[in-house]
């Protein structure tokens, strides 16, 4: 039916079609409707679950130095009961937090009344059993352990071991091993501090335990190397078991070569077979069985290579980006500037640049891929390198362990994206 000639007929037919679709919907699809209601995330809405202050600023009077309350890393512990546990650390102190829900409260105490005041014992004439009554959901966060005074330098990493009992904390020069229950003692397992500090040329930048082998961990350095250590070999893991380093490409050597090779994050794959490192311009995937070079290298923002001088001057070259794997280890993700983040599919070798920004995407609309024009002619919809906003950097991203849901932190906003639900 052509719409122009048969307008009214078309309207009727359309109306009938809609009625057919919606008629009996409640009866035919009760489960799906219920799922939609109880899973608000399928409609793309999130609410803050809990907010708490983990660390406070401190002042070290002996050295006249401020210790910032800024949190450097957060790591969840594997869940063992209804409560959630996480480790959070600032430059000097690690804290274990317990986050639990309370949705019931007891009423009818014998010794105190509803206000909490103690009742006069002589007034109590009968005993009663307190009754549990529902209340508005309350989320409580309480500090369970405080692990302090074990790091002279700034803590950059924490990693929970697969034994669920120990964890490591790493600062610029040392790595310590802790037991989650014991706060007054830690064991130093790596120490790269030279006897003469003037000889210092390399620092530890990140460290992580192997996801399955509780005796194995890796740590990365500011010179772009990764060392894998086995705690069974000796108490102090000064000698590595494996040493991963990619030989430098002499044609791209510059004064900034070392700075951009500094690894800002290292993450094992879920399988434990690979690890991924992030340096300033790229993400590399390493096979643990091959130390000589990575098996994959993905360029994050190669167009910045010609801008390194400016990025050095304004300090952006020291930015520390994180990276993450998806559940099946088939894709990896990392952040960039201008609120861009990058995803790489390891199987199809395709990559995409997306933007986390309220202005440039409507809620529930699919994200449009972005393109950065390295120089010269700028095509339509491309953004030139020089209009990138280097204040808007995405340093932290996270991928849900099993679903295709990602969290992206853009300055002071948190974005949660997911696959489009059909």
């Amino acid at each position: 039916m052509a719409l122009n000639y048969h307008y009214h007929k078309v309207m009727e037919e359309t109306a009938d079609t809609f009625i057919e679709i919606f008629k009996g919907l409640q009866e035919r699809f009760p489960n799906e409707i219920q799922t939609n209601k109880s899973h608000p995330h399928s409609r793309g809405e999130y609410n803050v679950y809990s907010t708490f202050q983990s660390h406070e600023p401190e002042f070290d009077y002996l050295k006249s130095l401020e210790i910032e309350e800024k949190i450097n890393k957060i790591r969840w512990l594997p869940q063992q009961n209804a409560a959630h546990f996480l480790l959070s650390t600032n430059d000097k102190t690690i804290k274990l937090w317990k986050i639990s829900e309370r949705d019931k409260r007891a009423e009818g105490y014998n010794l105190k009344d509803e206000d909490g005041r103690l009742r006069d014992p002589f007034r109590i004439t009968a005993l009663r059993v307190p009754i549990l009554k529902p209340m508005d959901l309350m989320v409580e966060a309480s500090p369970r352990r405080i692990f302090a005074n074990a790091h002279t330098y700034h803590i950059n990493s924490i990693s929970v071991n697969s034994d669920h009992e120990t964890y490591l904390s790493a600062d610029d020069l040392r790595i310590n091993l802790w037991h989650l229950e014991i706060t007054d003692r830690s064991f130093n397992i790596v120490d790269i501090k030279p006897a003469n500090m003037e000889e210092l040329t390399e620092v530890i930048t990140a460290a992580e335990f192997h996801p399955h082998q509780c005796n194995v961990f890796v740590y990365s350095s500011s010179k772009g190397t990764i060392r894998l250590c086995d705690m069974r070999s000796s108490a102090l893991c000064d000698r590595h078991s494996k040493f991963f380093e990619e030989p430098e490409d002499p044609s791209s050597r510059s004064f900034f070569s070392e700075i951009i090779s500094s690894i800002s994050d290292v993450k094992f794959s879920h399988s434990g077979r690979y690890m991924m490192t992030r340096d300033y311009l790229s993400v590399k995937v390493w096979d643990l069985n091959m130390e000589s070079r990575p098996v994959e290298t993905h360029q994050v923002h190669e167009y910045l290579r010609s801008k390194l001088c400016s990025l050095y001057e304004n300090d952006c070259i020291f930015d520390k980006f994180e990276c993450c794997w998806n559940g099946p280890d088939s894709a990896i993700m990392t952040g960039s500037y201008n609120n861009f983040f990058r995803m790489f599919d390891r199987n199809t070798r395709r990559d995409v640049t997306l933007e986390a920004s309220r202005e440039n995407s409507k809620p529930r609309a699919s994200l449009k891929p972005r393109r950065v024009c390295p120089g010269g002619k700028r095509k339509k919809d491309e953004i030139s390198v020089d209009s990138l906003d280097f204040n808007k950097k995405i340093l932290h991203t996270a991928w849900h362990p099993s679903d295709n849901i990602i969290a992206v932190a853009a300055t002071n906003n948190l974005y949660i994206f997911q696959d489009k639900v059909n």
Partner: protein, 290 residues
């Protein structure tokens, strides 16, 4: 040095420096100067203090407005204090570089950057200055980032090596130069790292299971300034060592390690051997260098 460089073109050269040939002394062809870093297509203005619009605020909040901008040339427009004979360009002109109209930009791009030995050397010296500037500014009330310090230090060493390899121009036979470019630079770096160690050194906290370092680091016969050693002994908690240093008069050069070092003094006459003296030493070399 860089004849014909005006302050106007000064800021724009920052981005063109990014297409520097990689290896010192190489003659790789240079791509045409790109649109300056941070300059938007629509010609929007940057911040009032001359920073490119896209640059982060971190690390720049301590800069004087309109001061120290761009690596080259190190003299023009640079706020050089305490050194007589150097012209101090008006700070406002730095800002002018970014607020220029788009048409001015295109005019500048036609100027070819000189990548001969003189241009390269000035680039290296400019990077040197930026690096020293960074080190100086990062010492503040907040504990400095060791990673950043080490990376800048290593870059400084590379620059130093590159500058030494390049034929150094003849220096006047004045005692303060000692005829060695190395001395002032490595002393500067050395004193910076030692200062870092003093402020971040291990304390004798009882919970720390790692044994605090003994006084092995306190070897007297080091050629470096003794006063820093005396200061670091305070943090080792070894009273015996304190007594050892009592006879040394450190009042003229002693300073609080934790406070930010003062700006390069306006007073030209610094104590020989102090940190400021070496910095001045280095500035003089750059001035007389080409």
């Amino acid at each position: 040095m860089c004849p014909g460089q005006t302050v106007k073109g000064f800021v724009e050269k920052v981005s063109s420096l990014d297409s520097v040939p990689r290896v010192a002394g190489s003659r790789e062809p240079v791509s045409p100067a790109p649109v300056p870093y941070g300059e938007r297509q629509d010609g929007r203005q940057g911040d009032g203090d001359g920073r490119p619009p896209g640059a982060p605020l971190k690390g720049q909040s301590e800069r004087p407005p309109g001061g120290k901008r761009g690596p080259c040339p190190p003299l023009e427009g640079r706020k050089a204090t305490g050194v007589p004979g150097v012209s101090l360009a008006a700070e406002g002109t730095m800002v002018g570089g970014l607020k220029r109209k788009h048409s001015d930009l295109e005019e500048e791009e036609e100027e070819k950057w000189d990548w001969g030995p003189a241009g390269l050397r000035s680039y290296q010296q400019a990077l040197l200055r930026i690096s020293l500037d960074k080190v100086q500014r990062s010492l503040g009330p907040r504990a400095p980032s060791l990673r950043r310090h080490v990376l800048i230090h290593n870059t400084l060493q590379q620059l130093q090596a590159a500058l030494c390899l390049a034929p150094a121009p003849a220096l006047p036979p004045e005692p303060l130069f000692l005829g060695e470019e190395d001395f002032s630079l490595s002393t500067t770096i050395g004193s910076i790292l030692r200062e870092l160690e003093t402020s971040m050194d291990e304390t004798e906290t009882p919970q720390n299971p790692v044994a605090p370092p003994g006084p092995q680091n306190e070897e007297l016969p080091q050629p470096d300034p003794v006063f820093l050693e005396a200061l670091s002994s305070r943090y080792l908690g070894d009273s015996g060592l304190d007594d050892f240093f009592l006879d040394i008069d450190t009042s003229t050069v002693e300073k609080e390690p934790a406070l930010a070092p003062p700006e390069p003094p306006h007073n030209f006459f610094c104590t020989p051997g102090s940190w400021e003296w070496n910095e001045l030493d280095h500035i003089m070399e750059i001035i007389l260098g080409s």
